[in-house]
């Protein structure tokens, strides 16, 4: 299985972003997804800046994929989208059917996690239009994925979101701006202050969700490290790690070592505990509520 780094979902300043990807260039990761997928108001890195990062990573031997914005509303969103889909150098991850329209039957592309591919018939359709890889919806279970894999079109790679706070929902409203009593059009770019998002807790103090601008994420960290053998057994080609403000390099390293079977998953999980901003969860993979955590029996035994 290959290891991928998903698009950066938070808003960081350019210096931090550039330093982050300098580290990524040296990290044991095969594929890197780049670009602003959450909010068009985030402007510290323009498309040209992302393309510079892309060149750098490509030179370091990474497969680079440009990810498109998930919620596309305005003509200027579409303008950026067209620039991305018509770029001559890098593969594109389509996160909206508008992007699919611009890529279909022209170049091979990655069908992103928000395209809602829940059945073999839809996967087949996207394959015919040129998708060479699909990222399963985050809420899909391992059992449903096994069904999908049985009739997977020839040449189609399967990618699974395997680590990070889950991107769960997108809105027109900016919840970070709302927290500061600001309107979205005058958000003052407050999400730059929350490099791992803004935690939303229940009134009992249970961390529940994470506000990240117009995106709502899980508070818990989805982590399939302990389930990797099952993921591998279902014929998954790529596992995705989502960037976080700290320790991403170490997390990629632990995933890499586990994939290479140089370190037992139980040990990797134990080492990862202090690297995660919140408790782990993996319920979706097990067909349960996403926030559940199901320890692997094998791991429980060896621990």
């Amino acid at each position: 299985m290959k290891l991928a780094l998903g698009p950066l979902l938070y808003y960081w300043d350019s210096e931090k972003v550039n330093a982050f990807y300098d580290t990524v260039a040296r990290a044991p990761v095969d594929i890197v997804y780049l670009g602003e997928t959450v909010c068009s108001r985030r402007h510290l890195l323009r498309l040209d800046d992302w393309l510079e990062v892309a060149e750098k990573l490509s030179d370091a031997g990474k497969e680079v994929v440009l990810s498109t914005q998930t919620l596309i509303e305005s003509e200027s969103d579409l303008k950026t989208l067209r620039k991305i889909t018509s770029n001559p150098n890098f593969r594109v991850e389509a996160n909206d059917m508008g992007a699919v329209r611009l890529l279909a039957n022209r170049v091979p592309f990655v069908a992103g996690p928000t395209l809602n591919i829940y059945n073999p018939q839809t996967l087949q359709l996207l394959s015919e239009m040129g998708a060479m890889r699909w990222v399963m919806p985050v809420e899909m279970s391992g059992a449903a994925l096994a069904d999908m894999q049985q009739s997977r079109p020839d040449g189609m790679e399967t990618e699974v979101f395997a680590y990070g706070r889950l991107p769960l929902a997108f809105s027109a409203r900016c919840f970070t701006a709302r927290h500061h009593n600001l309107q979205k059009d005058d958000c003052q770019f407050r999400c730059i202050d929350y490099e791992n998002g803004l935690t939303l807790k229940t009134r009992e103090g249970q961390p529940f969700l994470t506000l990240n601008g117009i995106q709502t994420m899980s508070a818990r960290v989805y982590n399939l490290l302990g389930d990797l053998e099952e993921v591998r057994a279902s014929g998954v080609d790529v596992v995705r790690v989502s960037p976080q403000a700290y320790h991403s390099e170490k997390i990629l390293h632990l995933f890499h070592e586990t994939l290479e079977q140089r370190i037992p998953p139980s040990l990797a999980l134990a080492q990862m505990e202090k690297l995660m901003p919140e408790l782990p969860c993996n319920g979706y993979w097990h067909g349960k509520p996403g926030l559940d955590f199901v320890p692997q029996p094998a791991l429980a035994r060896s621990a």
């Binding site: 596309i72 305005s74 829940y118 087949q124 809105s171 229940t202 009134r203 529940f208 509520p289």
Partner: protein
Amino acid sequence: MQPETRKFELVCPAGSLPALKTAVDNGADCIYMGFRDDTNARNFTGLNFDLANAKEGVRYAHAKGKKVLLALNTYPQTSGWQRWTSAIDNAAELGMDAVILADPGLMRYATKTHPELRLHLSVQGSATNYEAINFYHEMFGIRRAVVPRVLALAQVEQLMANTPVEIELFGFGGLCVMVEGRCALSSYATGDSPNTCGVCSPPKAVRWQETANGLESRLNGILIDRYGKDENTGYPTLCKGRFEVAGETYYAIEEPTSLNTLELLPELMRMGVAAIKIEGRQRSPAYVAQVTKVWRQAIDACRREGQSFSVKPAWMAELGKVSEGQQQTLGAYYRPWK
């Protein structure tokens, strides 16, 4: 009458045969309904239509010159494809005027198997721009798209200028703050979501509990809200609870409120919007009657009066009675809401 206002359909919800008849009798142009399973996004116990009821519903509506639309707007899961294709076959057989779909695989089945069947793109298809809408048009010949409740009015107009597909907008009822079809909050908390099971914050996961701190509503054990003695309680839809963010407790995502766009009617007609949709298949026939009646009166008045149209306070009062939390908003159509 302006040419673009000739067609401005009032699309009303029906979760049962009595609700459907009520909608027809009170002036709906179209009624949308679902079958009694997870093929639609209001998959609640005791709600929706079996084949016999659907048949009677279509007969009743057609006899009065009204249309019936079938919502098949969940995403077929790997273990039940046939349930969704049977629903399409049944829709064609029953003479439904259109099916409302979200899943591209299912759209292909529909176009291949029943080329005469009219397709609408469901709001669950998350199409918020004309490139996406035109994609479904080119691939499957969709005739109408229901647009997610996230666009400002100017964005809707821009979108309409660039697509041949008719646009249907939500006008009244429960307000999804998230882009429909792109929200997994419910499955994160409970295991079931609109995309996979046709439910959001499902009743089976809800618990009410009287405690020393007040009345609490929980969803799969997660505290969604806690009410003081004099506060109105509301269904614990998880995005409409009160949570704590950085030490502050408030409706962090959205207040319990309903969308109400009555005052936008002249603008929507001027723009050439094809249809206005009322949310609420899970609501009672009384709700359907009340809301349909008010909207029928308002649309007719707006047609007569054009730009001099004004919203009658009595209409707002009627709609206020059936609104969530007795509150109403223009939602994203009014840009500052965002």
